[in-house]
Symmetry: C2
Subunit: 246 residues, 2 copies
DNA sequence: TCAAAAGTGTTGACTTTACACCCATGA
DNA sequence: TCATGGGTGTAAAGTCAACACTTTTGA
């Protein structure tokens, strides 16, 4: 590749320089939130005839003067008013015919946002939250993109303190557990869940209680400062967790 | 993205259609082999002045008429003569200035090949195998790409029967263990390693022995047929391995 | 006083790790 | 007979899964 780029166009076999550049690159964002005890995704009604009635993910073409990894931040800022979000690149999709209007290769990202965050404004009336479990079909290959992002989220959530981005600053252990259950799609044992979370050491006990709950209030916690960096620093995990022994 | 594409060029803010398409997309392949008891990578001497003396990964621009995921197969076929390889997409790199000759976004793949495979021909004299551990610097951002691919390989190898793609059809448990040690960069306990591998049930006992070894020969094994599919089928792993209990 | 959820420990099953000796072969 | 690696089992430590009762609060 790098090599061909340097070659004069005539040398690039029979395909002209212009043709080579006739591929657009976009990003698509799977924006998750947690609302009504359900994991939800932000979608927009597709305005293409081919997909009338279907929804699609939020995306945009990557600009010539922006880093690939910056594009989803721009899209999110535009669409939700928020920056400083948790974002993770998942995979790039590039089948020839994945886009009806031409050749578009897209890099998928997922993002986690707190639905109650003050800065959040999803006012544009064509944007809607949809429970992930109820989504059967999306425009383009967006259902596949959604599925890969969900799978990646599930993997991440087991290992890293990322789910907290979906919750408000303060939360109870019940809320946290329900969130995990929504993401993973399974039920968890309360005692074991609490033990495990305690063991991770991610949480700070705020010495405050829930209020306005119609039952015994639980303690409130927040994620310790040290774990809050949103810009994904190279997760240099120890490579080997618990495998073949020494 | 999808939306803008449909708009007339004038509508796409102030950036022209042509500018949007003035981004090239390439693939770069981290081709691993296992030789001299070391994990090695196939590199080519960079022909750019900026990188004189440095090596780079093998890549090429994606053709307008090929799927993104097909491009690395083409590159590998061209460079090594082999098809039907194990290939996995890792991540897409797209900083504005990552390429000296213009805007090029690249999708990284890693591949595992058996250095003794009959079809393998890396005759082009500008191609060389380099022990991964000895690589300090590469052209472009290729060192970072190599590192991500290595990390992904390490993750995969713990869970899925992929390392076998680096070995000949028949191999001994010692060879297999040494391979794992090279990939992971650590030493493994022989008894525990054998127990673990046996437990996975990946191997078929060929009831044959090594020969031409200057010591007691070991049994030969091969990967069971059922595990040999190279085209990565959707690894639908059970999502939860060993985490929070029910 | 009822309903709802908070909070809390123990046990058995399983997994992981650490570790050492005798055996078969070729030189 | 020596050097090299092949082949094998056990015990202790740690982790995981299953499970139930009492407490607190608001209605």
């Amino acid at each position: 590749m790098d090599k061909n780029l340097k070659l004069k166009t005539a040398e690039i076999e029979k395909i002209s320089h212009l043709e080579y550049f006739n591929i657009a690159i976009s990003v698509d964002c799977v924006i998750f939130c947690y609302q009504d005890k359900k994991l939800q995704v932000l979608l927009i009604k597709s305005d293409l005839e081919e997909f009338s009635g279907l929804y699609s993910l939020l995306g945009d073409l990557v600009r010539p003067d922006e880093d690939l990894d910056s594009a989803p931040y721009r899209v999110l800022k535009q669409r939700t008013g928020m920056d400083d979000l948790y974002l993770e690149q998942v995979r790039t999709f590039g089948s020839i015919d994945r886009h009806v209007s031409g050749r578009v290769i897209t890099t998928a990202y997922y993002s986690l946002i707190d639905i109650k965050h003050q800065k959040l404004s999803v006012d544009q009336n064509e944007l809607h939250w949809h429970p992930v479990k109820e989504i059967k079909k999306l425009a383009f290959d967006h259902k596949i993109i959604l599925d890969s992002c969900l799978q990646r989220l599930r993997e991440q959530v087991m290992e890293f303190p990322v789910a907290f981005n979906l919750l408000p600053e303060k939360f109870s252990l019940r809320e946290l557990q329900e969130l995990y259950e929504s993401i993973l799609g399974i039920n968890l044992d309360r005692r074991n869940f609490r033990k495990k979370i305690a063991l991770k050491g991610w949480l700070e006990d705020l010495e405050e209680m829930e209020n306005e709950v119609p039952h015994r209030p639980g303690k409130l916690y927040s994620l310790k400062q040290a774990y809050r960096k949103k810009k994904v620093s190279k997760k240099q995990k120890p490579v080997l967790e618990n495998i073949f022994s020494k």
